[in-house]
């Protein structure tokens, strides 16, 4: 069997206590305690509790000690601590009977802080019972031993603290592994891996292996792109970096499933950055087609409410996109925020106005909003941008709001608005028209066509309307403009 198949954290786990990096304080507490056991004089505290952050060598020290002193390691994980009977059956036997071959034993109860108070009812009592009756050393490990429920264990055990590994210690181990594997590696790369591991040697070794096996070398660039901190979600940039540098399907899937983005946004991020990352047109197309499939599956989730399909979204958006790279060389790119999201936000107002305008005109023209958007608004835009004076009359005719006029006229907006203002000034009204006017305009419009009379601007109540003025103008245009100027100036 190829040695590559073996995880390095197993292949290179320490066989002797001295090989366990750092943690001198822990060794100083643990070794004498263990030696007392071996000399047949069990110490007062029959258990030891190793505590400290993940990947700093707690389990490794137990394993190394077992190896060094030729002890039979009996291991139980917190996940096995489900019920009292389990513990009693396995651990009690180990604690009371002599080994067949006369080998001494050491019992490892891993991750005892994983026991939850209620779900593992009786689990803690069983452990305490075990500690009381044990004939073999018991080592427990925990990341956080300070939970109230663990107090009885703390009292019954020798407390052995483990510290976060210093960077140089992690680098040292990584270098040793690289040498043993005969792999080209840059020290800067090891530093990056070590830094990101935050003292977690296990994750550092895993990262090293991922890069080394994927690329046959460990360079600074690869390290930067691949190594992401564990136990937290990836930000969008990390997600993309991890995705686009994935060599294996599992890496790409991990990149996707660890992302802190919602699925819609995630797809948009990939959508934005495929052509930045890939240079070969065929790769670009393959990646887009995979993403498009992911998008189709995603749509079907919503259509059928079957979240089972999410796995396929991940498959296509992850490995599908990542493994599309055949000819493009990996390059270092600055990933971009999805422009679509930016543009949508920036153009939100314009789109709302267009929607309101389409609804408004659709009711006049007896057609759908889509037809208005496709067949009417484009021509109105031509008129509004080229003939402000004529446009102003249409604006009055349809009671368009200032926002609608601005949308239609674009750069010519101020001209159109100016014409509207002028036209309004020429209108003389029979009754004072101010904000006090509460009479619905439709009732004052016997002369207008029925179609225009029954509809009015729907967008917002604060928009200025011209309807009443327009109607009065029809009645009274001949009467001149004298009386109107004062009030009209308040129009805009």
């Amino acid at each position: 069997m190829s040695t590559r198949a073996l995880p390095w954290i197993i292949k290179y786990r320490p066989k002797r206590i001295a090989e366990v990096v750092d943690q001198e304080q822990a060794k100083k507490l643990f070794i004498p305690w263990l030696q007392q056991w071996l000399k047949g004089r069990p110490p007062e505290k029959k258990a030891a509790l190793f505590y400290g952050p993940a990947g700093c060598g707690k389990t490794s020290l137990v394993e190394a000690a077992a190896h060094e002193y030729n002890l039979e390691l009996i291991e139980m994980n917190a996940s096995d601590f489900r019920r009292k009977e389990d513990i009693e059956r396995i651990a009690k036997v180990a604690a009371t009977q002599m080994s067949l071959f006369g080998r001494k034993k050491i019992i490892l109860l891993d991750e005892v802080d994983g026991i939850s108070g209620t779900a593992d009812k009786g689990g803690l009592d069983a452990i305490l019972e075990l500690i009381n009756h044990t004939k073999h050393p018991i080592v427990m490990t925990a990341n956080d031993p300070w939970d109230q429920k663990l107090k009885p264990l703390r009292d019954a055990a020798l407390m052995v603290p483990f510290n976060r590994l210093p960077e140089h210690a992690v680098i040292e181990v990584l270098r040793r592994i690289c040498n043993a594997e005969g792999i080209y590696c840059e020290s800067e790369a090891l530093t990056i891996i070590a830094k990101r591991s935050e003292g977690d040697l296990r994750s550092a070794i895993n990262d090293l292996q991922a890069i080394a096996e994927g690329y046959g070398k460990v360079t600074k660039e690869l390290a930067e792109s691949l190594v992401v901190s564990r136990d937290r979600e990836y930000n969008p940039f990390e997600t993309l970096r991890a995705l686009f540098t994935s060599k294996y399907a599992w890496q790409a899937k991990r990149a996707i499933s660890h992302s802190n983005l919602d699925y819609d946004t995630l797809l948009q991020w990939i959508n934005e950055n495929i052509p930045l990352q890939y240079s070969d047109p065929e790769d670009v197309w393959r990646a887009y087609e995979a993403l498009a499939k992911a998008d189709v599956y995603y749509g079907r989730i919503w259509k059928t409410i079957s979240w089972d399909l999410l796995a396929y979204v991940f498959d296509m958006a992850g490995p599908g996109v990542a493994l599309s790279r055949k000819k493009s060389k990996f390059r270092w790119v600055k990933y971009q925020f999805p422009q679509k999201i930016l543009l949508m936000a920036r153009t939100k107002e314009a789109r709302e106005v267009r929607e309101a305008l389409a609804a408004h005109l659709a009711s006049h023209l007896h057609t759908s909003k889509a037809t208005v958007k496709n067949d009417v608004i484009p021509f109105l835009m031509v008129i509004f941008r080229h003939r402000p004076d004529y446009a102003a009359r249409i604006a009055i005719g349809y009671n368009l709001t200032e926002r609608m006029i601005k949308y239609l006229a674009g750069p010519a907006a101020s001209e159109v608005l100016e014409h509207v203002r002028k036209l309004m000034l020429r209108i003389e009204k029979p009754t004072p028209i101010t904000a006090r006017t509460t009479k619905p305009s439709t009732q004052t419009t016997p002369t207008t066509t029925t179609t225009t009379a029954t509809t009015s601007v729907t967008t917002s109540t604060s928009t200025r309307t011209y309807r009443t003025r327009r109607v009065t103008s029809r009645r009274r245009t001949s009467k001149g403009t004298k009386t109107s100027s004062g009030r009209q100036t308040t129009l805009f």
């Binding site: 797809l267 948009q268 959508n271 495929i274 052509p275 047109p281 670009v284 197309w285 990646a287 887009y288 087609e289 993403l291 498009a292 998008d295 189709v296 749509g299 079907r300 919503w302 259509k303 422009q339 679509k340 543009l343 949508m344 789109r351 267009r354 659709a362 006049h364 023209l365 007896h366 057609t367 759908s368 909003k369 037809t371 958007k373 067949d375 009417v376 608004i377 484009p378 021509f379 109105l380 835009m381 031509v382 008129i383 941008r385 080229h386 003939r387 004529y390 009359r393 249409i394 009055i396 005719g397 349809y398 029925t450 179609t451 225009t452 011209y466 327009r470 103008s473 029809r474 245009t477």
Partner: protein, 329 residues
Amino acid sequence: MSSQMAELLWAEKYRPKSLDEIVNQEEIVKRLKKFVKEKNMPHLLFVGPPGTGKTTAAHALAHDLYGENYRQYMLELNASDERGIDTIRTKVKEFARSKTPSDVPFKIVLLDEADNMTADAQQALRRLMEMYTATTRFILIANYPSKIIEPIQSRCAVFRFTPLKKEDVVARLKWICEQEGCQYDEEALAVIYELSEGDMRRAINILQAAAALGKVTVDVVYKVVGLAKPHEVREMIKLALDGRFMEARNKLRELMINYGLSGIDVIKQIHREIFSSEFKLPEDVRVLIADYAGEVQFRLVEGADDEIQLNAFLAWLTLLGKKLKAARK
């Protein structure tokens, strides 16, 4: 042009109000007038291409039945704007309860773009039609009769609106020009007819925009249409085929965001462009592109993301362009 203060879109301003004003579709008008005379009619289904007078005929019919204030006896719905059959059902229910006309024994529900409804929604619509048949008549309007389910078709008197003849459209445009007092070249009106593909509404829109710019000449007509329908889609295809994917993608964004086109609008336009002589493409390649466009449109109809799907399409076009170039060498 007239010197009124307020102006309307000519498509509205010059829409015939009564059946008498409708100059074409003689057979249909004759039958509809009979309904008015008898003050009775079955459910009606108007089918035909856009801009051939279906909606106008429905309004004119209601106008002639109920008089000037006909709109209080007609509920106008547009299937593509309503949010599903449930809102339609609610509106019809409320409307059926409202005041009835004095001398006509029914009110009218006008449902435009009925062929945009799913088969299921149409089944529900059919039940609605039966439920309120004592007090209401439905006029359904559709572009494609084949998209209306059989049970509805069999319950309606079907009226087929034929594409408008060139003489009819040109005569109408000429008449509008005279009403508005605007100058025009005969030739320009013929060009408008060609560009509007027999769609009267579109023809009138073009005419109005052209008249706003000055005398209606062939050049002005082309200018207006060019301004209103920018060549962005064509340019986008060109860019992609030319290997400039990123620029094509930017064009796509411009189209969708600045011009407010939906992904479906864009892919439909692409489909139209693909067969234009603007593109020097082998004929079999055109078919290939159309096939892919069809797939994209299907995905979009299914609810997929506009940009992602169209980007995938553009990426494919880019690759295709590259292969075509290589083959030519």
